[in-house]
């Protein structure tokens, strides 16, 4: 097997705040192969965005402590100098953000913002950069790119702006694209278009994509493999089928249980996971999900390692001490996968 494109090992990111040290990312490891779409799923505060920003070198700061390794090719992005990181950003690894309404500078033309990026990395003429910016806009499906080049961001619709952001991210043909909740701020039909576009770019260019989302529907649409994150840790990792049809971690059950489905009778109340995510300053000892988990038992005070507990699926890993047979029994709630029944 060839070496993965990007490998993250035992990444820890913590921030010093006035209330104490926030352990935003607590030992995250994963690998991303060329041409793969990896989804990172989790709720707000699970550490997925901080993980992404750390890959970009954008979580650095006087109050941040970053440990572990992020290898992209032969470079370690954790120890790379600020200047090396600056060159890698945009050129080898690029990012698209959640809200396309605010992600572009309102006072510059959309095209010029792409040209600015190209010229920050390459010593090329304005004309050449402009031509390439127009090409980038065309490649993400923006009609009339020559004319749209001269528009300001507020003259674009939300979906078009997200396309332009993707064009900006891909202008230098990076190997990895991190899309942080790229569809959350968009309406549903536009969401589907943007996901199609990411999928198309992945297939046509072999672009590796890390898709960060809290929406399992988005995961089901496009991803090859998923990581489920909770309170700074990966609690489950597997293929789309693993996660949706044979979920091993109670938190994943809870996420799946709180989905509404058009092909099922509408529940009277939407099941939700009881409780709230733990404080990342003083997280619970052992399994972080323990306080909210109805299946907690004595062993849970020790941190379960992220490993495969299924002989037939060595790549399907989770962080739960329960035996797989017990899990398969307990995860069925009201005839479907869930953590708790919908409240009456």
């Amino acid at each position: 097997m060839s070496a993965p494109l990007l490998s993250v090992s035992d990444l820890h990111v913590s921030f010093a705040t006035e209330e104490g040290t926030v352990k935003a990312v607590d030992g995250v490891s994963f690998e991303l192969d060329a041409g793969e779409i990896l989804a990172i799923v989790g709720e707000s505060g699970s550490g997925k965005s901080v993980t992404a920003l750390t890959l970009m070198g954008l979580s650095r700061g006087p109050n941040a402590a970053i440990e572990g390794a992020v290898r992209l090719g032969d470079k370690d992005l954790v120890t790379a100098s600020d200047d090396e990181m600056r060159r890698i950003r945009g050129e080898r690894i690029a990012m698209v953000f959640q809200d396309p309404m605010t992600a572009m500078n309102p006072v510059y033309k959309v095209g010029d913002q792409i040209v600015e990026e190209i010229r920050a990395h390459e010593d090329t003429s304005k004309e050449d950069a402009r031509r390439r910016a127009v090409e980038a806009l065309r490649s993400v499906g923006i009609p009339n790119p020559e004319r749209r080049y001269d528009n300001y961001p507020h003259e674009f619709s939300g979906g078009m702006r997200q396309r332009a952001m993707i064009a900006l991210a891909l202008a230098l043909e990076p190997d990895v694209l991190i899309a942080d909740e790229p569809t959350t701020a968009l309406d549903v039909t536009i969401q589907a278009q943007i996901l199609r576009l990411l999928e198309q770019l992945n297939q046509e260019r072999g672009l590796a994509v890390i898709l960060i989302t809290h929406d399992l529907g988005v995961v089901a649409e496009v991803s090859d493999r998923s990581l489920v994150m909770y309170a700074g840790r990966v609690v489950e990792e597997g293929t789309l089928d693993d996660i949706f049809y044979d979920p091993q971690h109670p938190y994943t059950w809870g996420l799946l249980g709180s989905l509404t489905r058009l092909d099922r009778p509408r529940p009277r109340h939407l099941p939700s996971i009881p409780g709230a995510p733990p404080s990342l300053i003083a997280p619970p000892e052992g399994c972080h999900f323990r306080p909210r988990c109805p299946h907690e038992f004595a062993k849970c005070v020790k941190v379960p390692p992220l490993e495969s507990r299924l002989a037939e699926h060595p790549d399907h890993c989770d962080r739960c001490w329960l035996e797989p047979e017990v899990k398969r029994e307990r995860r069925v709630v009201e005839g479907r996968i869930g953590l708790v029944a919908g409240a009456e």
Binding site: E91, A103, E116, E117, A169
Partner: protein, 316 residues
């Protein structure tokens, strides 16, 4: 743009009209403002006063008096009640001193206001920021007349570094012009440097948290480019508005304290003297002059603003 200009000019005329009516009424009604006393002198016989009252039309209805005064204002024949000096000539005489003071001070306060604001924002919470914050607050808190008096005492009386007030036209003697203006420039700028640096600091810190600044970093731009091209470019927009209005007010005679302390004989000092003697014609003349400049500059600010921020459309 043409629509904007027409509406803005109509607007301007209305504002100036409203201000002229208000100013006229206030100083017409104010106790002790009787113009007859200023024209005839305090010791004049009652018969003389009556004669003056009749001759100058002070027995006419208010609106007739207002119309007469506005007519004189517009054709330039408005004269002071107390010394019969022509208001327009007096204003024009004061403009070079005021313009020298305000333009010079504006360059200084913009330069240092922006410099300190940027340093303060870049080093937010650290030593340089703390020092600048303290200095800015001191600058904002110091009264101009006190700083001015202190400077005059130590730098002209104790050590004769600078001339003790007054104004020398630039065309007459540039070196002397400069030496007469250094202290007033300093004095007038201190306050504004404090305000501008505080405002720019908070604007920049706000902008630094904007998503598009994160995007700029994600593009791999250098910190310098992020700061100048993205943070500063957006943080300076509100400063433009503030500067336009402050500059308009000061050049319209608002730098009363500085001009008076240093005896610059500019518009501001003329304003102060006119108000001190409740002399309606120069008060009205200078008020309209100042209002005109402020309205004009706010229109210019709007045009500049629309240039700086493409989301803004010019609709008056």
């Amino acid at each position: 743009m043409a629509r904007f200009a027409v509406r803005r000019i109509a607007n301007m005329i209305f504002v100036l009209f409203a201000i002229s009516v208000l100013t006229f009424l206030i100083f017409y009604k104010i106790p002790g403002g009787d113009p007859v006393l200023r024209i005839s002198g305090r010791t004049a016989e009652p018969a003389v006063r009556e004669q003056v009252r009749e001759d100058f039309g002070f027995n006419d209805p208010v609106y007739v008096q207002y119309a007469r005064m506005m007519q004189k204002t517009l054709n330039g024949s408005l004269e002071s009640y107390s010394n019969r000096v022509n208001v327009r000539e007096e204003l024009i005489r004061g403009i070079p001193a005021t313009a020298s003071l305000v333009i010079g001070a504006a360059i200084i306060w913009l330069f240092f206001g922006i410099l300190f604001g940027v340093l303060s924002a870049v080093y937010a919470g650290r030593f340089p920021d703390r020092v600048i914050t303290i200095v800015a607050l001191i600058g904002i808190s110091l009264p101009i007349f006190w700083v001015g008096a202190l400077l005059l005492y130590y730098l002209t009386y104790k050590v004769s570094l600078f001339p003790a007030g007054g104004y020398v036209p630039l065309t007459e003697d540039p070196a002397s012009w400069l030496s007469h203006l250094i202290l007033p420039w300093f004095c007038l700028s201190i306050l504004f440097i404090g305000f501008y640096s505080r405002l720019l600091r908070s604007n920049m810190l706000d902008v630094m948290n904007e998503d598009y600044v994160r995007t700029a970093r994600a593009k791999g731009l250098s910190e310098r480019r992020v700061l100048l091209g993205h943070v500063m470019r957006n943080a300076l927009i509100p400063i433009v508005t503030l500067f336009g209005l402050d500059f308009g007010a000061a050049i319209g005679g608002g730098a009363i304290l500085t001009e008076s302390v240093f005896g610059l004989q500019g518009v501001g000092q003329y304003v102060a003297e006119s108000i001190g003697s409740l002399d309606l014609p120069p008060i009205l003349g200078t008020t309209l002059y100042a209002a005109f400049l402020i309205v004009l500059l706010s229109a210019i600010v709007d045009i500049v603003y629309a240039r700086l921020d493409p989301r803004v459309r010019l609709t008056a």
